[in-house]
């Protein structure tokens, strides 16, 4: 036991074991708990409304930024923009507008993936009749492809609601004021 070579060998074994454990723990904390290679994205939507006689044009701008450190792969056919609309209702009481899903269209169709730290922007145009809309809401959804052996994937959802035509901030509808 007192043989110096045995002591050195044991010390080396213990040191190696500790180094492997420390390195493994660090890698676990950094890459698994820290989710370094997790899919991260930031999706934003803004929208504007333009009017002409009898028609409205809604222009929504969708921006997707890959905030992660890996390439973000998309689920095929699963990048869409929904348009929800609510019709005007009697305002004698407080109500939450009942929105209907009006139309959906694919967006960012030219992109199958997004590189790390890359961002893309696209404008989406909807034309709709100049009805008595209360609100219009634009909802973008971008679905990441499922990782191998995973049952679920991640999707990012962003929405933006704008008042219908003739609605003014904090006041009467403009058609009443005229």
């Amino acid at each position: 036991m007192s043989d110096p070579s045995t002591i050195i060998t044991m010390t080396q074994d213990v040191t190696t074991t500790v180094a492997v454990l420390v390195g493994g723990g660090w890698a676990y904390l950094k890459y698994v708990k820290g989710r370094v290679y997790a899919d991260r994205a930031e999706l934003t939507v803004t929208a504007d409304l333009y009017g002409a006689s009898g028609e409205l044009m809604a222009v929504a701008v969708v921006t997707l930024a890959n905030k992660g450190l890996t390439r973000l792969r998309f689920q095929p056919g699963a990048k869409v923009m929904y348009l929800y609309a609510a019709r005007r209702m009697p305002a004698s009481e407080v109500v939450v507008p009942a929105e209907d899903k009006i139309v959906v269209d694919e967006i960012l169709t030219g992109h199958d993936w997004l590189e790390a730290q890359e961002s893309v922007t696209e404008q989406v145009v909807f034309v709709l009749p100049k009805d008595d809309w209360l609100t219009l809401r634009f909802e973008a959804q971008v679905w990441a492809a499922r990782r191998r052996w995973r049952r679920r994937g991640i999707r990012w959802i962003a929405s933006s609601a704008i008042p219908g035509p003739d609605w003014q901030r904090g006041g009467e509808r403009s058609d009443h004021a005229r």
Binding site: G77, Y82, W143, R152, I154, I157, A158, S160, I162
Partner: protein, 64 residues
């Protein structure tokens, strides 16, 4: 017409096979593309008639 741009609210969510089926149903049911512009008629291509021009072989320069 309100001249303002609404900020977006955003979040992330998991999806599974049933969500994917719903999305595909929506794309079939609610996708409305306007009619495409009619194709402009292509201008009739006329083969340019090649005029037969006499090929001058060139005469050697006159020497005094």
């Amino acid at each position: 017409m309100p001249d303002e741009r609404a900020d977006s609210g955003r979040y992330q969510k998991f999806w599974d096979d049933s969500d994917l089926r719903d999305l595909r149903d929506d794309l079939v049911r609610l996708s409305r593309r306007g009619p495409a512009l009619p194709q402009l008629p292509e201008p009739a291509k006329e083969e340019p008639e090649l005029e037969e021009t006499p090929v001058s072989e060139g005469s050697p320069p006159e020497t005094p």
